[in-house]
Amino acid sequence: MNAGEVKHPGLNLGSTDTDTHEQAEGDVFGFWVFLMSDAVIFALLFAVYGTMLAATAGGPTPADAYKLGPTFAETLTLLTSSLTFGMASIAVKYEASGSVLFGWLAITLALGLAFLGLELHDFATMIGEGAYPARSGFLSSFFALVPLHGLHVLAGCLWLVVMIVQLSTFGLDARVKINLLRLGLFWHFLDIVWIAIFSIVYLQGLIR
């Protein structure tokens, strides 16, 4: 099919390797659509959280439960991991030597795991201080929204491991590249969601 005859919405990646690019176009566009669907889930959980802010049932309030320091550290860790993933994408683009790409992916993975560690520690502290999910509707909505993001990060980490193994198995073949492209979208998407969580959940909870 002649790529010039139909102009598609979404990514048009050019025509240096038409077949591969066309394949990538559909795959990447499909992943964008998936992310939109996933974003709806987060949006709804934000909405539910908003409606349940006051439903503390005599238990801990946002101001009691949240701590700015650890969440700020989590934010920095996750944002940095997006930067390192960006470096990995650049390494893919310029076909840097394998070890550079490995290196950036490994650093991203390490930062992702560090984020999860910090977050789990944060949750443990909250629960230890009596802010556990079954305590109130407010805490239920917190523990549905924020750990779901964490679960996504966990999935992203697993995906990173798979990609590192695939890189060593197949090298940078077309499918590995497409998957890295999609994983990149996923990883940056999680960053955006986290920024919303940090602003709407933590900052709003602590500032008011």
Binding site: M1, N2, E5, V6, H8, P9, G10, E25, G26, F29, G30, V33, F34, M36, S37, D38, V40, I41, L44, L45, V48, T51, M52, A55, T56, A57, G59, P133, A134, R135, S136, G137, F138, S140, S141, F143, A144, L158, V162, Q166, T169, F170, D173, R175, N179
Partner: protein, 694 residues
């Protein structure tokens, strides 16, 4: 010792979860009906398995169907699933009508709890496991052919969607045999479905079946939307797409955005039930209204997910069987998109009575009535398409006509319900039941039946029996009016929905009429099966291998029937809205290309069957608190996806020589076939070559 082991192995299963045991211990009619239904599931499944084994068809089935990634086969399997589930849910409907007819100042034969399970499974199945698979199947079959594509964008994902849907439907079937189903209706409203009021396994069956189904539908929507955006053949611009493709696109977009709210609603309910969260409980800050909003944020667009594809089918059918270009194509496209957008603005009309302010109700009431405008545009367009056309009253056309009449009536009652003050009067009565059946039976079922009759010859290479088609049509239409018009009267008279018994003797005659209507509807289904059997028996006389039995207009009619696996030897190039029709009028639409090329097709994959089966087992483990099974299944699911990502050899080449042979056979058949005029299209002379008249 055993006390510790069994709960770890079997979770909360006990022998009394089996309906046979209950019927043995307490042989009432109610328990015997339950045991009988369970027996039918077991006998049905066992005889299918036995039949396949005796015929030695397992290998064939596995290779050609179950692991296939061909969109056409996946589409057909979806439709088969829809018919199986339609049969069960229709039997339940008949049982409910019989019970109500028998239970005026009398207990009847179905106990209240059992009756509650009946209306819960009837609704859940009809929406999630009849309607959704039906339209997904039809879109799967038709849409890629109509846009001149080889396949959908993600064939493997397509298979996974099918199997997750199938697994979810299986979970509902299992609930007949092991344990019980929810009594909370198809919408599963908490706090009734919370642990405090429904500690049993019923709501858990509902939660996991619906969750699996909604994830599958989200993935289908994604797949279809990307296919329509990315896989259209050269020249197929948006405003040249067949109207069915437009409705498929809008339905897909609705699926992408409207299924996630359902997933969120069921997931939060599961968190409440499994780990003691407080989203929708009565205590500790829970708020049921969040559920109502989440559920109907899905539930209302869902109505249009169901109805839009039927609108697409009617557009195709009316145009073809009137031998006329579709009137007002552009307005139909705009109406479709308008409906899709408006569908997200009206969800509160599902709970006008639940305590929000009058102003809010008014806004949503007005938004609801607005939907009548684009729908009216569509009805007028179809009428104008028929006007001065050469209308042929074939079975799909009959369904289309019955739809136009019946759907308009249902629309009027919808406008009534859209007035909040009137809604207060008839909400939760049978009036509401009458209204939404009045929309969904013509707006989904007739559409899908029209679609099966219209595209069946394309899919299987022979036409369906016309006489039995008409008998079935008569039953569906007469049965509908008899079964549901009395419910308007009953509802206006105050008969509450979901009632197992009534105390008002004046209801009796109307309930009898509705009962007769239900039986006629069941005969409609039976007639469809007879039709299928008769048609298969006479298939050799009714073959339409050439592929164009109805003088069709879109690309899908320009292939053989059934189409080859690769759909088009060379992808078509389109220059207008009715490309095949124009081709027939202007020249030689079947002209063989000069050369053929190798075509890459996806290899079969067992990832689909594995994920569906394991997904259903995961749900089962969660329902019964069999934690080891749940964990095992979850790990298997993730492992399957990871393992698949390492498979590189996923394409299979169909050599050009094979394609040339397949195409040559078809071109020979075209050369030998006799072109027949429209007045003889339902006769055996129809070999699928339409006579061209200008």
């Amino acid at each position: 010792m055993m006390d510790g082991i069994w709960p770890a192995v079997l979770g909360r299963f006990t022998w009394s979860a089996l309906p046979f045991v209950r019927a043995w211990q307490n042989p009432t009619i109610n328990e015997i009906i339950g045991a009988g239904a369970a027996m039918m599931v077991i006998v049905g499944a066992a005889s299918v398995i036995a039949l396949i084994t005796i015929k030695g068809r397992w290998r064939y089935l596995w290779r050609e169907w179950l692991t296939s990634l061909d969109h056409k086969k996946i589409g057909i399997m979806y439709v088969v699933l829809a018919f199986v589930m339609l049969s069960r849910a229709l039997v339940e409907a008949v049982l409910m009508r019989m019970q109500q007819a028998a239970a005026v100042n009398a207990p009847g034969f179905v106990e209240p709890d059992h009756f509650a399970q009946l209306f819960s499974t009837h609704g859940s199945i009809m929406i999630f496991f009849m309607a959704m698979p039906f339209l997904t199947g039809i879109i799967n079959y038709v849409m890629p052919l109509q846009i001149g594509a080889r396949d959908v964008s993600f064939p493997l994902l397509n298979s996974i969607s099918l199997w997750l849907t199938g697994g979810a439907a299986g979970l509902i079937m299992v609930s007949l045999v092991i344990g019980r189903f929810s009594t909370g209706g198809w919408s599963g409203y908490p706090p009734y479905t919370e642990l405090a009021f429904s500690p049993d396994v019923g709501p858990d069956y509902w939660i996991w079946a619906v969750t699996l189904g909604s994830i599958a539908s989200t993935l289908s929507g994604l797949n279809f939307a990307v296919t329509i955006y990315k896989e259209r053949c050269p020249g197929m611009t948006f405003m040249r797409m067949p109207l069915f493709v437009w409705t498929a696109l809008c339905t897909s977009i609705l699926m992408i955005f409207a299924m996630p709210p359902l997933t969120v609603a069921t997931a939060l309910l599961a968190l409440d039930r499994y780990v003691g969260f407080h989203f929708f409980t009565n205590d500790l800050g829970g708020n049921m209204m969040n559920y109502a909003n989440l559920f109907w944020l899905f539930g209302h667009p869902e109505v249009y997910i169901l109805i839009l594809p039927a609108f697409g089918v009617y557009s195709e059918v009316v145009s073809t069987f009137s031998s006329k270009e579709l009137y007002g194509y552009t307005s139909l496209v705009w109406a479709t998109m308008t409906i899709a957008v408006l569908s997200f603005t009206v969800w509160v009309h599902h709970f006008f009575t639940m305590g929000q302010s009058a102003n809010l109700n008014a806004v949503f009431g007005i938004a609801t009535m607005t939907i009548g405008v684009p729908t009216g545009v569509k009805i007028y367009d179809w009428i104008w398409t028929m006007f001065r056309g050469e209308v042929r009253f074939t079975v799909p056309m009959l369904y289309s006509l019955a739809f136009m009449m019946t759907f308009v009536l249902g629309g009027f009652t919808g406008i009534l319900l859209a007035f909040p003050p009137l809604d207060y009067l008839v909400h939760n009565t049978l009036f509401l039941i009458a209204h939404f059946h009045n929309m969904l039976i013509p707006g989904l079922l007739y559409g899908m039946l029209a679609a099966t009759h219209y595209w069946f010859p394309k899919a299987f290479g022979f036409r369906l029996n016309e006489k039995w088609g008409r008998i079935a049509f008569g039953c569906w239409v007469v049965g509908f009016y008899l079964a549901f018009m009395p419910l308007y009267v009953l509802g206006a008279g105050g008969a509450a929905r979901r009632s197992q018994a009534f105390f008002e003797p004046a209801f009796r005659p109307w309930l009898y009429v509705a009962g007769v209507g239900a039986l006629i509807l069941a005969s409609g289904l039976a007639s469809l099966f007879v039709q299928l059997w008769v048609s298969m028996r006479d298939r050799d006389a009714n073959r339409v291998f050439v592929g164009d039995p109805w003088d069709g207009r879109g690309l899908e009619w320009s292939t053989s029937a059934p189409p080859p696996e690769y759909n088009y030897a060379n992808l078509p190039v389109v220059a207008g809205r009715d490309p095949f029709f124009d081709g027939k009028r202007k020249g030689d639409p079947y002209g063989a290309p000069e050369d053929y090329h190798d075509i890459d097709m996806p290899r079969n994959s067992m990832v689909g069957p594995v994920s569906g089966t394991v997904g259903a087992m995961l749900g089962f483990g969660l329902v019964w608190h069999i934690w080891w099974l749940s964990i095992l299944c979850l790990v298997t699911l993730i492992g399957t996806v990871i393992a698949r990502s390492f498979v590189r050899d996923v394409q299979r080449v169909i050599p050009a020589a094979d394609i040339a042979r397949i195409e040559q056979r078809w071109h020979d058949a075209i050369a030998q076939a006799r072109a027949i005029p429209r007045e003889r299209e339902t006769m055996t002379v129809n070999e699928g070559l339409a006579e061209v008249t200008v």
